[in-house]
């Protein structure tokens, strides 16, 4: 049995890997979509926060002997607090201005963060070991899958679901969405909107940091790991529909799969296929697949 002239096991294997990458895309674009959807900020520092999450995990292990499982909690917390500080000090002054200002500010923050870490730790990166409990691989019949990669899929799907549920199905989420529609009215009901917005930004940033910790054992932790990924992640958000949580999750996973296919059929195009799809989607549905017109 074969698909497009490739044996089925090969296709299944590549789809599995595509799902792993799609999980990273979904998790990263989720934070971006939450921040854009609720704050209207184009957070160009998202890749830098992802990178900082990975570095936080590495520093925790290397300097303080804090293991992977604690890092999964600690790194998003530390980086999230950093996000809150940035929101309080800089970002909140820009909400009423053109979105371009927020974009420029966050882009500058990303460059500063990358520069500082390169100065401190060098450009060639650090190795983070796979945690012992998730080492090894399982034979799925069509491929040998490292257990850690399976864990990445499970963990990011769980986090995506929780985030979606929190925003779309709970009272807190309803308040958040209401606050972005009409901040003054919600404030009139006695809800502290600035604090709500601050926590949202911190939460979105923490999601990026979590993705960073998840990816640390898979790739070299280096200062540029975020900037090479953030452009793809922006494309995912645009395709899904700016601000749509569900759209972002679905398109993140789907694009991972499509990219996986491309890597077999025409590898040279694997780094542009996402953007080709973005162009097609924008022509056909300018608001994105799940966006509201």
């Amino acid at each position: 049995m074969s698909v497009f002239g490739f044996p089925l096991p090969v296709i299944l294997g590549q789809l599995m890997l595509g799902l792993v990458n799609g999980s990273f895309y979904a998790l990263l674009s989720l934070g971006l979509a939450v921040i854009f959807g609720l704050l209207g900020v184009v957070n160009f520092a998202h890749g830098a926060f992802y990178m900082l999450g990975a570095y936080a995990a590495w520093i925790a292990l290397d300097q303080f002997g804090i293991n992977y499982w604690f890092a999964l909690l600690l790194a998003p917390l530390v980086v999230g607090v950093l996000g809150v500080i940035i929101e309080r000090l800089f970002l909140r002054h820009l909400y009423r201005l053109d979105p371009l200002y927020g974009l420029l500010l966050t882009f500058g923050i990303a460059l500063i963060a990358e520069g500082l870490l390169r100065y401190q730790f060098g450009a060639s990166g650090q190795s983070y070991p796979v945690p012992a409990a998730l080492a090894g691989a399982v034979n799925l019949g069509f491929m040998v899958l490292p257990i850690y990669r399976g864990w990445v899929i499970a963990a990011s799907l769980a986090v995506c679901f929780v985030t979606w549920f929190l925003i779309e199905r709970t009272r807190l989420g309803a308040t958040l969405r209401a606050a972005t529609e009409n901040a003054r009215l919600v404030q009139a009901f006695g809800i502290n909107v600035p604090v709500l917005v601050m926590c949202t930004y911190g939460g979105g940033v923490a999601l990026a940091a979590l993705a960073g910790v998840l990816s640390a054992p898979v790739i070299q932790v280096n200062p540029l790991m975020g900037s090479s990924l953030v452009i793809v992640v922006f494309a995912v958000v645009v395709i899904g529909g700016m601000g749509s949580i569900l759209g972002t999750i679905v398109s993140g996973l789907a694009l991972g799969l499509i990219e996986g296919f491309t890597k077999v059929i025409y590898p040279e195009a694997s780094n542009i296929v996402v953007f080709v799809i973005m162009a097609i989607v924008l022509i056909w549905r300018p608001a994105g697949l799940f966006g509201k017109e």
Binding site: V20, S127, P146, I219, L224
Partner: protein
């Protein structure tokens, strides 16, 4: 009125520039360093290269022919247009006498063209592409440290002779990767081996596992990694994770000690690689390594050591030629031998290639490594001719004449 003010300030501005250029040419010798100072290759040379060049200038006494030696530095950001325009600017306005070119074959090829047009000696050190002294050669280019031919003759031939007959290449999809793959394929075939496939991977891919599974599916014995820097580290790391290194032997066609340091010996152990220099070869190299370590807190890569050696070699040539005239200095460089901590009896061929000994190394296991940065064991020393070939590259127009 406005126009008048503009004209006056322009006149002053241009006059000022002309003044500095004349001044530069008169009482100082200007060396420029154009390299990746902030991107993926910043650890291969970067700040360490600037330090090495400064060490060379200080060791030379800080002046030559009674003129002060000045070092300028610039970040080309891995963009050929930035590298070339900086080169042109320094040649026109800063009186640059020699340019050291850092990492990135694409940028170096662009800069070599400017070197020929402006008649400024250009010593390419970080770029791997052998075409710099082949089809892209110029009368002012010197290629120092290593090239794709030497890497293939070292690593690929060692592995084929050890029984790795069938190869599958994972190749960075740009000039450097394809030149490296071609050179390695030639060596593999010449030694009775065979290349049974390859996959072109976009530069800076975030995940290599898919390409690695394709390599594994080919059934080849050797996984030829024709990439560098983070691409190399990430592909080797994923190959370990997916257990591919158990069925295929990875070949690092280009790896620097900075890569091995960041990967760690657990992942990198057993790898064969080719290098033009290693800090722990002999007393001279160790002495240089110690001085460098005191400043940079890491051992130098072969390229950083070459930065030191090339700077000294250029200054010596200026001294014996008694002038900074580019043609006379190039002639002097091409007729003198290079003997220092970097090279023994090195010489610059008609095509501009600096021929010197190369070393095939194997990365030690964590148990074999006895002290910090004790990473390599010497497998084989190749003579310059064995590494780079025994004659100049005929595709270089300078050689045909």
């Amino acid at each position: 009125m406005k126009l008048h003010a503009l004209a006056v300030s322009l006149a002053f501005g241009l006059g000022g520039l002309a003044g500095t250029a004349a001044q530069a040419a008169d009482n100082q010798v200007v060396i420029g360093d154009i390299d990746d100072l902030s991107g993926v290759y910043a650890d291969v040379i970067g700040q360490g290269g600037i330090e090495a060049a400064n060490m060379a200038i200080a060791d030379f006494g800080g002046s030559v022919l009674g003129k002060k030696i000045v070092l300028l530095t610039a970040d080309h950001q891995n963009k050929p247009d930035i590298g070339a325009s900086k080169f042109r600017e320094w040649a026109d306005q800063s009186g640059a006498n020699m340019i050291l070119g850092g990492s990135n074959t694409g940028v170096s090829i662009a800069m070599a063209k400017v070197a020929a047009a402006k008649k400024v000696p250009f010593i390419a050190i970080g770029a791997a592409g052998a075409s710099l002294t082949g089809v892209d050669c110029t009368p002012y280019t010197v290629h120092y440290a290593y090239d794709t031919t030497a890497l293939a003759n070292g690593t690929a031939s060692t592995i084929v002779k050890n029984g790795g007959k069938t190869w599958y290449f994972l190749t960075a999809d740009y000039a450097f990767g394809t030149q490296l793959q071609d050179a390695a394929t030639k060596v593999v075939t010449a030694n009775g081996g065979k290349s049974i496939g390859s996959v072109r991977v976009p530069l800076g891919a975030s995940d290599f596992s898919s390409f690695l599974l394709q390599a594994q599916g080919s059934g080849a014995q050797v996984l030829g990694l024709a990439n560098a820097g983070n691409d190399f580290s990430n592909s080797l790391k994923a190959a370990n994770e997916f257990g591919i290194t158990k069925t295929m032997k990875p070949a690092a066609l280009l790896a620097f000690i900075s890569d091995i340091h960041s990967l760690g010996l657990n992942t990198a152990q057993g790898l064969y690689l080719t290098t033009g220099w290693y800090w722990d070869l002999n007393d001279d190299t160790r002495a240089f390594g110690k001085r460098f370590f005191e400043k940079m807190k890491r051992e130098p890569t072969m390229n950083q050591a070459a930065y030191y050696s090339a700077t000294i070699a250029y200054l010596r040539a200026v001294k014996s030629a008694g002038t900074t005239d580019p043609d006379k200095v190039m002639a002097e460089l091409k007729k003198s031998k290079i003997n220092d901590m970097f090279a023994k009896n090195g010489y610059i061929r008609a095509d501009g290639l600096m021929v010197h000994e190369m070393y095939v190394m194997q990365v030690k296991s964590p148990a074999e490594s006895k002290y910090p940065w004790d990473y390599y064991k010497l497998v084989k020393t190749m003579s310059g001719e064995e590494a780079y070939g025994d004659h100049a590259d005929e595709t270089c127009p300078l050689v045909k004449k």
